[in-house]
Amino acid sequence: MASLTAQQRQDLIEELPRLKRFCLSLTSDPSDADDLLQITVERLLEKGMPHDAHVAKWSHRVCRNLWIDEIRSRDVRNRYAQSESAVEGAGTTSANSDDSVQLDRVSAAMDRLPTEQRAALVQVAVEGCSYAEAAALLEVPIGTIMSRVARARKALAEDLEWSAEREA
């Protein structure tokens, strides 16, 4: 498992755009998504994968595990480094139209979703995966995908209603 086969490399190249969207769905931050994608690719090139591995599933698994490692690490840093305040930006201020305001709201609401719900929703609603496909990719039961997607939509709807009312 030292290296990728030529076919695996080709499959991985084709998978990169989708993998990047997956990174964004996990991190909810473009810079983190870029980092995660690069680190995932580095890991895949360094460790390789079994010759019979499904490239999309394998790469998504590696990506997800790396992100879990990172957020655990950040959690430790946050708990033990009081000076490091993880203050996120309050979002863009360039919203000049109702349309962009709405997109900003959606972006903020997506950020507030639990990671697993956001990842499931992106796989189904953005990538067009069936529940079975998303379940295989995220390695959870199909019923879990169904539940996460539904809860994500519900939370999104309530969050957006609340933010619209608050700003009205």
């Binding site: 190249i13 810079s31 870029d34 980092d35 690069q38 840093r77 972006s107 953005v126 539904a150």
Partner: protein, 246 residues
């Protein structure tokens, strides 16, 4: 048709609420029977219809959000994956936003590859070609500025040093379009051969390139540390070496 909401169960046999039903309907995951039942309800229940429309609108917004985000995969990353006969050597694993002072601001990320010198295929555009070889052969090292290679590449010699095996080696920078690489090539039996190639992402200002031999490009620097037997040549020593044909 009878109201069968209480009988609706998910795939695990658990009862689901209307939001779950609507979500499955949007995703085309309801079976025919439950789809017909839901459509019947949607015709007669404005609140349920409004809820569905809100969810669909939110889905559209999420799709737009992700389609408008920059999902461009850096070309050098695709090149890296597509390259054959390269092996990762201690990947960077740096997280820009969280790495604090550990990552120099001018270096967003570094990938370093060890190229098997016995294999002829290396990844574009770092393949040793006549233009690059000629620059290594004749161009002195410099702290700033670039020499043009062909129509779309720039070159900068960084330093020259003697390797333990007696070869002369040069660290250099190479740029093409938005990509930059740092590498070390050694002169082997009259020909320049790449030894280490690091793909680097710099900030836009040229002045933010680090001076020769800076430790930011750790893998390249480590290769030099492990290979060099003496300090880098000074400008006059290097000029004399170039003039003498190495």
């Amino acid at each position: 048709m009878a109201d069968d909401r209480d009988n609706v169960v998910d795939m695990a046999g658990t009862r689901v609420d209307d939001d779950h039903l609507l979500s499955m309907y949007i995703d085309n995951e309801l079976d025919a029977e439950r789809t017909i039942a839901l459509i019947t309800r949607l015709r007669t229940e404005p609140t349920l219809r409004a809820r569905l429309e809100k969810m669909e609108a939110n889905d559209s917004a999420v799709k737009r959000l992700y389609s408008e985000a920059d999902h461009t995969v850096p070309a050098q990353l695709a090149s890296l994956v597509g390259a054959e006969n390269v092996t990762m050597m201690n990947p960077s694993r740096t997280w820009q936003r969280w790495a604090g002072g550990m990552v120099a601001a001018s270096f967003a990320a570094v990938l370093t590859l060890v190229i098997n010198v016995n294999q002829s295929v290396v990844f574009n555009p770092m393949s040793m070609d006549p233009q690059l070889a000629d620059a290594l052969e004749h161009s002195p090292s410099r702290a700033s500025g670039w020499e043009t290679l062909g129509s779309d590449r720039v070159f900068r010699g960084v330093l020259t040093f003697p390797a333990a095996d007696g070869r002369w080696c040069r660290e250099f920078l190479l740029g093409q379009n938005e990509s930059q690489w740092r590498g070390v090539a050694c002169r082997d039996s009259g020909e320049w051969v790449n030894q280490v190639v690091g793909s680097e992402v710099f900030l836009e200002q040229e002045t933010q390139y680090r001076p020769a031999g800076a430790a930011d490009s750790e893998q390249v620097a480590r290769f030099i540390d492990e290979t060099a037997t003496d300090v880098a040549l000074g400008p006059q020593q290097e000029a004399a070496l170039i003039a003498s044909g190495w």
